[in-house]
Amino acid sequence: MLPFGPMSATSEAPAAFRHSAARPGPLALIREGIDEILSRRRLVRYLVQADLRKKGADTLLGNIWWVLDPLLQMVVYVVFVAIILQASTPDYPLFILSAILPWKWFTSSINDATTSVVSQERLIKQIQFPKIVLPVAATTAGIVGFGFGLIALGVIMLFYINRVSINLVFIPVIAAVQYAFTLGMALAVASVNVFFRDLGNVLRHLLRLWFYLSPALYSLSRLEDVQFFQDNPILLDIARANPFAILFESYRAVIYGTPEGGPLLPNWGALAALLLASIVLVALTTILFKRLEPSFAKVL
């Protein structure tokens, strides 16, 4: 007889009932999002692997670019700021690299996340799966790029061996905070881009502006000397609250230390506040993503 008896039928997936009136609340959406990511861990892993394969596959030097890229960018800024503008920051290459690495990670994650949902357009219209894994995978894949960037950092640190301190062990802690913040942003841009396809263009310019407004090429204390900020102390407070002011200053503290070369610890209070804010951000953008998710297949 048939190989499919009643027993095998009961072991199949349970009844799936869908009704147009069902609208889960915000907390249910957050729990759903977490459940989906946890139950689809392997899918996230496969997507990350595929993403890395793609990035390494079509270039001559493959993954070497991940090390070379931040170094070349560093050279550009060193030529521009230290040599042409003659800024007096000591050991400027290391100073700037400590900001380039996290920033590259952030922008590549945000850019990948922006297109993560729309690039799976065909699949989204073909099968039902939790779309939240797509921006999560894009953000997670960025970590590997950051890891390769740390190789570049290791190379440069050889030239500034006197600045190496035990504080370097805190890089993963700062990176964890950055990951939470990035994930929150990624969920928002991935879902909004489905509805506004030119978000990527807008983001490109916003991100560039954000970089130059953040203390990457200069230190936060530099702003305090600027007359404009002395006249507008509120703007100075805003500049201090900028998530990337906190992140850049933290990375710089553990990688670069004080300008004189002494070891420096990050501002733990600011970092903790940013972590808290990032968790709230992730919660809010998860709700946003889950609210918009049912419309994806229709709009794409």
Binding site: T10, F17, R18, R40, L199
Partner: protein, 276 residues
Amino acid sequence: MAANAPTLVPGTQHAIEVADLGVRYSLRFSRKTTLRQSIAQVVSRQRIEEFWALRHVSFTLIRGESLGVIGPNGAGKSTLLQVLAGIITPSEGAVDVRGHVSSLLTLGAGFDQELTGSENILLAGAFLGLDDKVVRELLPGIVTYADLGQFIDAPIKTYSSGMRARLGFAIATSVDPDILLLDEVLATGDADFRAKSKQRVIELVKAAKGIVLVTHDMNWVTEYCNRALLLEKGNVVIEGEPAEVVRVHEEHSARRKAEKQAELGTVAAAAGPLAR
């Protein structure tokens, strides 16, 4: 488990129940919407248009039945499949799908070009929500069925469209679904594989599984479906015996064709004197 068994005897329980289903599309956002257009819409207070891709659709599919969905282009056939697969949430009405659904509707979608055939099988399994162990067990069978030979370890980008379709079909039908949703798959691949895939679909139908098939091939509907549904402009025109439904469909399309020709005729007639 044993207590549930009697309700699952094939033929006594529905696999799919659709009650007064409606799917509304808002044309405010389409795939090409930009910020500028949206701002322009808001500023000019443009009326947001909507349309119903499906309206007042009701039917029941008993376990073991094979339902052929036919109709002209844009009738809502694919939307119906998307709703059954859980991809689109209904705007009104209710849909009850009992059991595991497999729906690689257009085969080969979602394959990652850089990954190899076997890696794509694992990825597809993960997308479908299957346990990795299960997928690894299924893998040899899929590879044999798709008949890809050495190509299974080559990136998908090197595949021909026929190979891609074969792999997609093999994955979609290997996951042993309760309900299989197929959209125009039988038109893909070479003649050999078409015959083979027909064979596989017939096997699945015989194995007391529900099938919903969207196709333009009327022979398929009359030969292998035991029920058919004609959709036009989002509404069910007729549902029942395949032969009868196909007859109505052919009548309607003949009429549409005649109307179109008549229209073209009057246009030509009207343009005639002007052209002179």
